[in-house]
């Protein structure tokens, strides 16, 4: 497939990396020649230097025979025009745009984006994605990673096992016998920094990070079994009142269980805008690093602190300070993925990588076949893929135990109709079912083959 990616910034580069790794014909367009050179030198992609929305630049990038255009420059307007020109001048089939500004995203205007108006098939909003990710983390405070699948009926939980976990040193095979009604399965395990898809005989050890795929109704039970308590969050302090912080605070206000949130924002104007957009939430103006201000926000009695400023170091330090002051839990926004290993020594409970969330949501739309959800795990080490099985697929109509899955692939759940089922060996997968699969990155093409990807779905 031929893909043009406009904008070689962080998001653009990550998408280019993912797509080029899957043997697609990728062209990167950016005004900054350095960024283009970095992309062409490190990845198997072509580069074009130029203004992304200019038709001649798009034509040089091969828009005439492109299948897809992804507009991820930092300007909303350029992204929009880019997609519109790709449609009007070159008739590109699929157009994805990243749009940040909340006004463009408001639900009242959401019918803006269709072929007759603004020709954008999919709108991706990093801020909104990050706000959603933050809310998910807040909802499951004892996990370090969560994502919802199958329309909210299933969840992927990332759990860090500690000494008090009651099922330590138990082979996974036995877990099934111990809890036969539990609709959950361990799909991934990170031991000593290496992510693997576990075998049935593997045991759970202390200090392991595991990924559990579970039915939504079994989330609490599942957390209990692995020694986690799911307690309610009542007081939340949000540091950073930009789009992300405001989005989270708004969502918290809209919830029925009265969560009391406080927002700390350094910039006066941004703080005023945040205060205008919120009803009950108190907005404090000042430096989030200031201990006095943190105490004014009652961080010592807070259940969680959410550090979502645009500066990684501030986020990390604020989280550490808050934890030290007595905050129960810290969730931190980190742009730089190489900072991820710092989380454990700094005692930060969870982190959100905006790029990973954005990339995940863009990937969801560009995967072949009837892929409905893709979630990138770790530093693009593995993916959780949710897809519908088609009648032409080699796995349709076969029992799970008979399917030759690669070594690094595990089935997390199967949804038949509305029912989410635990994948047992004697379960037959039929056409129309939705499967959620954990796949190590090297096995993703094999998974795509199993899902019988064909070009006629584009």
């Amino acid at each position: 497939m031929k893909v043009i990616i406009c904008g070689a910034g962080q998001v653009g580069w990550q998408i280019a990396r993912h797509l080029s790794g899957e043997r697609n014909d990728v062209t990167v367009v950016d005004v900054n020649s350095d960024l283009v050179r970095r992309a062409t030198e490190t990845l198997d992609v072509q580069g074009v230097v130029g203004f992304a929305s200019h038709p001649d630049v798009l034509e040089r990038a091969g828009a005439r025979d492109a299948d897809m255009i992804i507009a991820a420059t930092h300007s909303d307007e350029v992204n929009m025009v880019c997609c519109q020109i790709a449609q009007s001048a070159f008739n590109v089939t699929r157009k994805i745009a990243r749009i940040r500004n909340q006004s463009y995203l408001e639900t009242g205007y959401s019918d803006l984006y269709n072929l007759d108006r603004l020709a954008i098939d999919v709108v991706i909003s990093p801020e909104r994605e990050v706000a959603e990710a933050a809310l998910q983390r807040l909802a499951a405070p004892s996990t370090f990673d969560t994502e919802v699948f199958m329309g909210g009926r299933a969840q992927l939980l990332g759990l860090h096992l500690e000494a008090d976990c009651p099922v330590l040193n138990t082979p996974l095979r036995q877990l099934n016998d111990l809890f036969p009604t539990l609709r959950a399965i361990v799909v991934g395990m990170r031991r000593g920094g290496r992510l693997i898809a576990p075998e049935a005989n593997d045991q759970l050890l202390e200090e392991d990070d595991i990924y559990v795929f579970t039915h939504s109704e079994d989330v609490n039970r599942c957390l209990e079994i692995f020694g986690k308590k799911n307690k309610k969050q009542e007081r939340v302090v949000i540091v950073g009142g930009g789009n992300v912080g405001l989005g989270v605070a708004r969502a918290l206000e809209a919830r029925t269980d009265r969560i009391r949130a406080k927002v700390i924002e350094k910039d006066r104007e941004t703080a005023e805008r945040a205060a205008d957009g919120l009803e009950r939430t108190i907005v404090l103006n000042g430096d989030g690093m200031d201990m006095e201000l943190l105490l004014e926000a009652a961080v010592d009695r807070a259940d969680a602190i959410l550090a979502v400023t645009d500066d990684d170091k501030t986020n990390l330090l604020v989280s550490v300070r808050a934890k030290q002051a007595g905050c129960q839990m810290a969730i931190t926004l980190v742009n730089d993925p190489t900072l991820a290993p710092l989380m454990a020594p700094l005692d930060i409970d969870a982190y959100i990588n905006p790029r990973a969330t954005t990339v995940s949501s863009i990937l969801r739309h560009i995967r072949h076949g009837r892929v409905r959800g893709v979630y990138s795990i770790g530093d693009a080490e593995a993916e959780m893929i949710e897809a519908q099985v088609m009648s032409t697929s080699p796995i349709a109509g076969r029992l799970i135990r008979d399917i030759e899955f690669p070594e690094g692939v595990l089935v997390g759940a199967v949804m038949k109709g509305e029912r989410v089922m635990k994948p047992m060996g004697d379960l037959r997968i039929e056409a129309g079912d939705v499967v959620a699969m954990f796949a190590m990155t090297k096995d993703v093409p094999e998974v795509e083959r199993l899902l019988q990807v064909s070009i006629d779905f584009f």
């Binding site: 005023e272 945040a274 205060a275 205008d276 907005v283 000042g286 004014e296």
Partner: protein, 513 residues
């Protein structure tokens, strides 16, 4: 006329003459309305006095117009405000002319006080209602109506642009100075602005009065009384031709009609005219309307709940009928005094009996001090200023808990809470000082403390009828000495024009920083 440039049309023509001359002409012409009325009724002496007064005033105005036609008026803050203050000094004298002629045994001071109180929409009357002929009642109502229109026009065309009369609370800038935009090379001529606003406001104002008049007539009110009440309600003068303050004839339906039309004195947004500093809120979210609603509800609730504490005889009063009478009486009267109109509900005595309070009139005194809406015909401190102070207080309380918190609800609201509240506080203090000064002057002139308090507040808030209800024994204006009338007259002008406007007029240097 052969004026070079664009010849202004309609009301614009009048902009060529000084404001005072135009107003004098208008008073002269309107004299002929009661003259005609008196002719129909057969009161020839009254008709004569109105006709000749009208003739004298009109001729005077025409002569003055010819003489002053090409004098360039002084522009700037002082010129405009001086014209405004001049209107309050000169016009009542002109209006008193037919009164002196028509009423046999009256002094000029009485007639002047009567007309000043009408023109400032105060509505305090020194005459027994029975002593005046119907045409004179019409003249009083007309002058009150004219005064209401004049202050409304000034609020839009003079005070608003000069950042006075409540506009300073909205804009948060220093009062008494217009917009200082360096890029605007030519400011609109104040006279032209007056003419343009007359064109937009007068039809609405007159139309509403007509509507209310017709409504009252349908409800069964006597023709003249209905017109007086319609004019008194729209202009918040509270002038009546009947014996008491209450609405008679049309009964409860009439009161309901007046109640609805009093809303035009609560918020400027009720008037279908695009005014200064208009925002696109719906009228139900208007802070002044909400505050007025809260205040009226509070007063009604206090008066009704007071019943539980009172030892009033509840064999008769405790009936549902008594409750509703008391409810409506309290509601209508409190809104009427909040808007500084001063009509009393026919059921006000029921409310008084129900609550068991000896003198709930003091509550009305407090309501009158709060006053109606900014840029309406109402007087008092004005609801918007009270609202700004309230919001500011609320925000300060919030800041005690969270010292670095940021207030929400938008930039406009933030400015209102901060700079607006500051300006409101300045005005509030000036108003309190004026009450003290007027009261001091009245006591020096020989009035008792309580009488001085009631009369002083009645004059400053332009709610003349307060004198009749606020204290236990009604105070009669007819029994006052001339010095007291003079002081009250000055207080009425002060209350009508607002202290800030007078300070801007007399001490312009103090505002130039």
């Amino acid at each position: 006329m052969a004026q070079p440039g664009v010849a202004p049309a309609g009301f614009g023509r009048l902009a060529e003459f000084p404001l005072l001359v135009v107003l004098l002409g208008a008073v002269g012409l309107s004299c002929w309305l009661p003259a005609g009325h008196a002719v129909i009724l057969g009161h020839h002496r009254v008709a004569q006095s109105f006709f000749y007064s009208g003739l004298v005033l009109t001729i005077l105005a025409i002569m003055l117009a010819i003489a002053t036609r090409h004098t360039r008026p002084r522009h700037g803050t002082q010129g405009q405000l001086a014209a405004l203050a001049g209107a309050y000094l000169v016009l009542p004298l002109a209006m008193a002319l037919p009164m002196v002629l028509a009423i046999r045994d009256t002094s000029l001071s009485n007639a002047w006080f009567e007309m000043l109180s009408c023109f400032t929409t105060t509505g305090a009357s020194v005459y027994e209602p029975g002593r005046l002929s119907p045409s004179i009642h019409l003249w009083r109502a007309l002058c009150g109506w004219f005064g209401g229109f004049f202050i409304l026009l000034c609020a839009y065309a003079v005070l608003g642009p000069l950042n006075l009369g409540g506009a300073e609370v909205i804009s948060g800038r220093v009062p008494g100075r217009g917009e200082s935009a360096a890029q605007i090379t030519r400011l609109a001529d104040p006279a032209l602005r007056l003419a343009r606003h007359t064109g937009t406001i007068l039809p609405v104002y007159a139309g509403l009065t007509l509507l209310l008049w017709v409504g009252l007539l349908i409800a069964g009110e006597d023709g003249l009384l209905a017109l007086t009440h319609a004019m008194g309600t729209i202009s918040t003068s509270g002038i009546t031709a009947g014996a008491g303050l209450s609405v008679t004839g049309s009964g409860w339906v009439g009161e309901l009609l007046l109640f609805v039309f009093l809303l035009f004195a609560v918020t400027r947004r009720a008037l279908p005219v695009r005014g200064p500093h208009e925002s696109r809120q719906t009228i139900w979210r208007d802070p002044e309307l909400r505050l007025a609603l809260a205040l009226v509800t509070l007063v009604v609730a206090v008066l009704l709940l007071r019943h539980a504490l009172s030892d009033a005889d509840d064999t008769d009063l405790a009936s549902l009928r008594g409750f509703f009478r008391a409810f409506w009486g309290a509601m209508f009267t409190s809104l009427s005094f909040l808007t500084t109109t001063g009509y009393e509900s026919a059921y006000w005595s029921s409310a008084r009996d129900w609550s068991g309070l000896g003198a709930p009139g003091l509550v009305l005194l407090a309501l009158a001090i709060i006053g109606g809406g900014v840029a309406t015909t109402a007087g008092g401190v004005k609801l918007l200023r009270v609202y700004a102070l309230f919001r500011h207080g609320e925000r300060e309380l919030e800041r005690i808990i969270h010292p670095s918190s940021v207030g929400g609800r938008g930039a406009e609201e933030r400015r209102l809470r901060h700079e607006g509240a500051y300006q409101a506080w300045v005005f509030f203090m000036l108003f309190a000082i004026s009450i003290a000064l007027v009261m001091a002057a009245l006591t020096v002139a020989g009035l008792a403390f309580e009488t001085a308090l009631v009369l002083g507040i009645a004059a400053l808030t332009t709610t003349g009828p307060l004198a009749g209800v606020a204290s236990l024994d009604p105070i009669l204006y007819s029994g006052l000495t001339d010095p007291v009338k003079l002081i009250l007259g000055a207080a009425m002008i002060l209350g009508r024009l607002e202290t800030l406007a007078l300070i801007a007029l007399f001490a312009p240097g103090a505002w130039r920083r």
